[in-house]
């Protein structure tokens, strides 16, 4: 599907990445058509990250002010992490120093708690497995390919972790943290992620990715 291509009639419900134009439903992005009882939609093959409440994202602190951190979450909108969320109480400028907590460049795992397009996404680190990422290697994947990196019910991600024997933290915003300390495995994982990005819609991708990581298939 390309933008403007008709994917359904007006009787269908217009799903994600579609719009009604003059009685027809047309695709708004380059992608693959998906039809079902819930309506027609398009799975985009390229796109940018639009924050959604509940998403786990990996961001980099890009600005620190007296009561909040501004976090680059690979989106048109910067994430805002309030100091009250980090300190767990009312922020006291005489006692608390945000810079000591998270300096510019710190990588954070956070969750989006509020976002309504009229204001920047509000982040929290007060949940399990959230907070500062102390160790790892950051890789950017096109955000539209993240569902494929995770796989149905997390199948692809768990197979990648099993095959590499390391933890891979995937942010919905397209930023991935590789925690392996082995440089050879790190390179294999990067190649695997690029392979998923390029061949997200190809059959037998999981086996190819697992083969690449476990060294049975020659990397690209």
């Amino acid at each position: 599907m390309v933008p403007g291509e008709v994917i359904g009639t007006g009787d269908n419900r217009a799903g994600e990445n579609t719009v009604k134009v003059q009685g027809s439903i047309v695709a708004t992005r380059v992608g693959i058509r998906r039809g079902g009882p819930e309506g027609v939609s398009v799975i985009p093959l390229k796109g940018f990250y639009v924050p959604r409440v509940g998403d786990m994202v990996v961001g980099i602190v890009c600005d620190v002010s007296y009561n909040m951190w501004k976090v680059d979450i690979n989106s048109p909108y910067f994430g805002v992490l309030p100091a009250t969320d980090v300190f767990g109480r009312r922020f006291d400028p005489t006692m608390d120093d945000p810079l000591k907590q998270f300096d510019i460049g710190t990588v954070l795992k956070a969750k989006i708690v509020a976002f309504d397009r009229s204001q920047d996404p509000l982040l929290t680190i007060r949940d399990q497995d959230l907070g500062k990422a102390d160790f790892g290697f950051l890789v950017r994947v096109n955000p539209s390919k993240i569902p494929r990196v995770i796989g149905r019910g997390g199948s692809m991600l768990s197979k990648i972790q099993q095959a590499s024997n390391s933890r891979v933290i995937v942010g919905q915003n397209g930023t991935v943290i590789l925690t392996t300390s082995d440089p050879a495995m790190r390179d294999k994982l990067i190649r695997a992620l690029k392979l998923i990005e390029e061949e997200a819609h190809v059959y037998g991708l999981t086996e190819k990715v697992v083969g690449l990581i476990s060294g049975k298939v020659e990397g690209q």
Partner: protein
């Protein structure tokens, strides 16, 4: 405009470059031409060579120009100093500023700006080599680069110029037809919406010629649109049986 200059249509009814009056110049599209841009294309139409890069949506600077309900589009149409016969000053000229605005106005109906308010989408159109019809070729290429960047669009916009050379209506004017012809009318058309998003005219046409010109330009735009869609599909799509895996 004047007679007795270059013969634009020969005795066989062919044009200076051997085309029939309703024939487009050959079009070549290379999507994703630039590594660092979010979306890009190298677009060639005859001797015209145009590079378009798209960035965004991203934060707006300066902040006061952002809009609370939609994104803004910034378009820069720029001709390289080496794009024309005589060196052109690299500074933006009055014509380039006007064309940037014209192209932006022609793109605005297709971009669903309401989906990402308070942001900006920047479109850079660099004319590397000019040979007539650069505004519509730039616009056609910009629509492709926007689709390549994953910006939500209501459809693609395709442009085509039409004009009059030696009393004959001709499609997709080249430089000499543009300069020495009797009239020049660039048109951009959105096939999905069946709407014209750009129409300008320089020179004189009768009502009948104008109607014929519109029809020819829409026909030419439809052919260009088919090439745009094919280029996007060939970059992103694979055969039908490979597209079924759930993502």
């Amino acid at each position: 405009m004047t007679e007795g200059k270059t013969k634009l249509i020969d005795e066989n009814g062919l044009r200076t470059d051997g085309r029939r009056p309703d024939e487009l110049r050959p079009i070549r599209i290379e999507l994703g031409y630039l590594k660092h841009a979010d979306g890009s294309v190298l677009y060639e139409q005859g001797k015209c060579k145009i590079l378009v890069a798209v960035f965004g949506p991203s934060e707006v600077h300066p902040k006061h120009i952002e809009l609370p309900d939609r994104a803004i589009l910034k378009v820069r149409y720029h001709m390289a100093p080496f794009s024309v016969d005589e060196r052109k000053s690299p500074a933006p000229s009055r014509r380039e500023m006007e064309l940037s605005m014209v192209v932006r106005n022609a793109l605005e109906p297709i971009v669903i700006t309401e989906l990402f308010p308070r942001t900006v989408v920047e479109i850079f159109i660099e004319i590397l080599q000019a040979d007539g019809g650069t505004r519509v070729a730039g616009l056609t290429a910009a629509a492709l680069a926007l689709a390549d960047a994953g910006i939500p669009l209501r459809g693609l916009v395709a442009g085509c110029a039409v004009g009059k050379a030696d009393g004959t209506m001709v499609l997709d004017l080249n430089d000499i037809e543009d300069k020495e012809g009797d009239a020049d009318m660039p048109i951009a058309y959105i096939p999905t919406m069946n709407k014209v998003s750009l129409l300008q005219m320089d020179g004189l046409l009768t009502r009948d010629e104008f109607r014929q010109g519109i029809s020819m330009a829409i026909n030419g735009s439809m052919r260009t649109y088919a090439l745009q869609a094919a280029a996007l599909k060939s970059k992103y799509s694979l055969p039908e049986n490979q597209e079924k895996e759930e993502m």
